[in-house]
Subunit: 646 residues, 2 copies
């Protein structure tokens, strides 16, 4: 599935001064489905009336003396998928897409979202809301400057903005005499009141050792050793992404659909460990595991979830240095740590360690993909038999592939809402059918299926695009070029620690050649029974450089509005490549090791020297990448065949 994260990333990119490689969205590509100029306005029946919510919010805004309030689509952990109780933007605007930013002023309300969601936004928002299509923070900033007079305040919940995004807003408004005001009471929550869904109460459980790469104690020791080696010698790491605590402690929950995580923070110091979570939700085994080595440096103290800010603030009073990941730690947490005690990096060491799967994690993730492939093959065969009979629609197809997965060993459901799109629906990259509107699959149209599963050993994600009749020449050309892009990137050999962004264009070149392109990212990391879009692996500027042991999806596509959509997605593993030069050097080394001692034993000094001279390794010294190894991406299918290892 293409990453929904790209718009958020893009904002940060632009403001960190990196040149953008993204094709820009044309804001005039479609005209609004809604007509707000007639009286009464013409609106689709799917819109939500937001007048009451907006009125109530504006009253609160007046009380706090702010002229605008920014409502993002994320939660306090910068989660991509959020729980119902965090769906503040959906509640205030009606728009339920996963990426977007709302701004409410005393007179207006506007929503920014990217092209994937324009149609959906127009179908869901009433005339209180205008749709804005240029999603950079700059664009939101310019709109604010236009709407808000100088001297007035713009309010934000500091727990819903990462440090980097907060700084982006601050940068855009810099010197404009409009002030960003952090308000710790979330104004939407105040208005939402008792109607807001409650906190989850389900059990948080221990992932059995069979399914973990290391014990949580080993993971903690590894992180502490990274803290020691760091030049600034941080004394603590704050973990605020939900994937971080789930991975580190080998715990799972079900607080967010499709994502087996639970609401929590952690403060890992050189001597102590605090996990901020609702203690009552921890299973007996989980509690036992966390407290097995108490007291001591491997004893986990469980503290209340809401205590995290106070605890971090108290800790930061001491002679300490606190390591945080600025890409996803919120401005609210950041603000309680004195500037001179911060050790900042884009990602915490937990995030960067999790990104590189160890041998056992690789084995687990591969095994999950084999079972998942069985489900997908069963589905494709079933489609081949049933589509010609006219028996399948998008929704029944999606339900069927979900069922096939659920039957597989260790499966715990889908890893995201199944995308099942026929004909023109597939041109919307994130289309999901429902039982009220579902197109029938036919031999005359292309069909795109993008789905994945959560298995105890790994998370999966795969897209196939098929046609059971005769595609048009243009469809064939586009499909071939999408496939070329997938293959070109999957076969690439590159130096270790190359940034994904540097190699991403190999997935686009074949399309570019004929003037085509696609408007989403090329791939994303994936977890071991964690997120389907796992940070920070991928092909964008703020992703980590690629090293062996990382898994990433590769998913170029092409979308012809109103006609069809194509995407071909596999999950690939970065492996060490045996290049031609490396092969020669290995060969030479073998000769030296096997024949050299024999020559020496026979005291054939001249022959021995001759051998040394003629088996000198190529590229010594200047092959700068040699010490780091040369890597290749290999799709899981080929790594499953041991003799095809690239």
């Amino acid at each position: 599935m293409p990453s929904s994260r790209w718009t958020t990333w893009a904002w940060m990119l632009l403001l960190s001064g990196c040149a953008m490689g993204w094709p820009k969205q044309s804001s005039s590509a479609t005209s609004d489905i809604r007509n707000c100029t007639t009286s009464p306005p013409f609106l689709p029946p799917t819109v939500t009336d937001t007048s009451a919510q907006l009125n109530a919010l504006r009253q609160r805004m007046q009380f706090y003396n702010i002229s605008a309030y920014i409502v993002p689509a994320t939660d306090a952990h910068m989660s991509e998928y959020i729980a119902e109780r965090d769906a503040r933007l959906a509640w205030i605007s009606g728009f339920t897409g996963s990426a977007g930013t709302g701004v409410v002023t005393t007179k207006k309300a506007a929503l920014w979202t990217d092209s994937r969601y324009w149609t959906q936004a127009e179908r869901q928002m009433d005339c209180n809301w205008e749709l804005q299509k240029i999603v950079w923070t700059d664009s939101i900033g310019e709109w604010l400057l236009q709407e808000i007079p100088a001297g007035e305040n713009i309010g934000l919940d500091p727990f819903l903005f990462s440090i980097d995004l907060w700084n982006s807003y601050a940068h855009v408004l810099q010197g404009s005499s409009r002030t960003l005001v952090p308000i710790e009471d979330n104004l939407v929550d105040l208005v939402w009141g008792t109607q807001r869904p409650p906190s989850p109460t389900s059990k948080i459980y221990l992932l059995p050792e069979t399914f973990t790469g290391s014990t949580w104690q080993e993971k903690v020791s590894g992180i502490r050793s990274q803290m020691e080696k760091h030049s600034r010698s941080p004394t603590a790491v704050v973990l605020s992404a939900l994937e971080e605590t789930a991975w580190l402690f080998n715990l799972r929950g079900d607080d967010i659909s499709y994502n087996p995580v639970f609401f929590s923070y952690a403060l890992l110091t050189t001597s102590d460990i605090s996990l901020f979570v609702d203690r009552n939700r921890l299973s007996t085994e989980a509690l036992q595991s966390l407290s097995a080595q108490c007291p001591g440096p491997l004893c986990v103290q469980v503290e209340e979830y809401d205590q995290v800010q106070a605890s971090v603030q108290a800790y930061a009073q001491g002679d300490v240095r606190v390591w945080i990941g600025t890409e996803y730690t919120t401005y609210g947490l950041y603000g309680v740590i004195p500037q001179d005690k911060l050790v900042e990096s884009s990602y915490s060491p937990v995030m960067t360690t999790k990104a590189v799967k160890n041998a056992k994690e690789q084995t687990l993730l591969r095994a999950a993909h084999v079972r998942d492939a069985v489900a997908v093959i069963q589905y494709l065969l079933w489609l081949e038999k049933n589509v010609p009979k006219g028996l399948v629609d998008e929704f029944s197809g999606a339900r069927y592939v979900d069922k096939l997965r659920r039957e597989k060993e260790h499966c715990r459901g889908a890893s995201f809402e199944t995308i099942s799109a026929s004909g023109l629906n597939a041109a919307l990259a994130h289309y999901s059918p429902s039982n009220v509107s579902s197109r029938k699959l036919s031999m005359d149209e292309m069909y795109l299926s993008d789905s994945g599963g959560q298995y105890l050993d790994g998370t999966t994600d795969i897209t196939r695009t098929v046609h059971w009749g005769e595609p048009t020449p243009f469809q064939k050309e586009a499909y071939t070029r999408v496939l070329m892009g997938n293959i070109d990137l999957a076969r690439l050999v590159f130096p270790s620690e190359t940034s994904g962004r540097v190699v991403e264009a190999f997935a686009r070149r074949a399309l570019w050649e004929v003037g085509l392109n696609y408007g989403h990212g090329t791939g994303h990391g994936i977890g071991n029974f964690l997120s389907v879009h796992e940070w920070p692996v991928g092909f964008q500027s703020n992703n980590m450089p690629l090293v062996k042991g990382m898994f990433t999806s590769i998913e170029p596509g092409y979308y012809q509005e109103g006609e069809f959509g194509i995407r071909i997605e596999d999950v690939a593993l970065v492996v060490e490549a045996q290049t031609k030069i490396q092969y020669l050097n290995t060969y030479y080394e073998t000769i030296r090791q096997r024949v050299g001692p024999e020559l020496q034993r026979r005291q054939l000094e001249e022959e021995y020297e001759w051998l040394r001279r003629n088996t000198q390794p190529f590229s010594r010294g200047t092959l700068v990448a040699a010490s780091l190894g040369t890597l290749a991406i290999t799709s899981l299918v080929s790594t499953l065949l041991p003799d095809r290892q690239a």
Copy 2:
């Protein structure tokens, strides 16, 4: 010529949070030529004794209460090439390479430079200086943290650090209790005293209209119109790069070798223009041109060069907003503008406008390249005849190609010191021969020639690598793959506004495939009788996205230490590409325009509708890049052949 800029850029990149694509240099690749452990130390005869300089500098440091002083290799305009009087690092350390940073503490002195210059540094520095090979700001910061106790101060000349680089140092030292102290008196200059070379006095002249793309008045109006359209409505732009003032006012000088620029700043406001320069140096024509429209908004006030800080500070007292380019404006200038009056972007509008050559500038630059190609062909033929006779060495070759260029119309000398390197010398990417050490060219070795000219109409830069005998199979393979990289990037079709960094790997893929790579940038912009490395065009993260009208070098290479070096460099122009899909759409549009009216005139309504239906453009709407055009890079040679336009 590969850009020397890359280390400086790299520092900024790392700190702006972008993942690095650069292969890391191994710091243990070579051992030091010097032996500082013996008594007396073993030193090459080429080293400079720096004891006296360092003693004097340390006395000044004591007076200013600083424990370390940082000496960069640049000037107050962040110039890549500098004048003798700005060669502070060379004077204090002995090292004359173009990229490096020196740090002097009370006890130690260390120099950071990249792999191109390691050997040179060891040959030039005495045992007072240690060589550091990891050039990131982080590495300098870590060294400082190790050497300087907490509570002490680190001094810098705020006019020798860009805002971005200053912030990088501040970030590295953040929370460490070491303070960065800006000292406006340059301590090296104080010690250098009367021995320091004087300010230039040569004439600053007007570039004849034949050689300019527009009048300076047209350029000024264009910049003012960009100021008006900017959402923050800046009231002024500060120009601090020497290329900016030279380009904007169509003036040239010769203050820096190989670069026809002159020391100056400018403050361009909505109503006034100030040029900060030594008035006596302006030619009569230059003065006339600048004052022809006085008084008025197109009247240039000439103020003293040294007045810039005071003038900008005075201007910034008003109700103004000052636009600056943070990549190259110094911290010293930045510091006098109140934070809320700053409008920051990576590059000023002068920089970004200059990067895109208009039709006349393109014609001029192409014409210069044709004359330059004649000189290069003459040289290659001469080599072919004279190398086999044993008559040519690296230095005589360099002198000969320089002479061939100087004979050409409009030539004003070389655009950089000619690189002429035979055999193992070519493995040093920036090797230049001298008359004391020059290797004889032979039929048994590869020879690399990288040279360029300054012509009144354009600046050139070209590299050819040749072998007059029989190259080894490995040399053939490496050469072929370097050439493949050059061709693959030159033939690439890509969406407009794609970042160079995203496409750069096409120049490396063929090398990567066999485990090879090169450790320098892939290309750089080039000027119209300006810098051979013209910002901000190129293939790195902080370069501008590629649009048509930009010129860039394409120069992959391969360097086998101790054996040979290969680089193939052309200058290419970004042009609009005629892609297959675009071709079809153009064809359809032609049919509609030519046949459509005829059908309408004959009232063949149904046929007319049929035609419309069957000539609908492909990719409307979803081809997101379409509105921006699809581009290709084309080498100048192919653009010179009108029928081969890509």
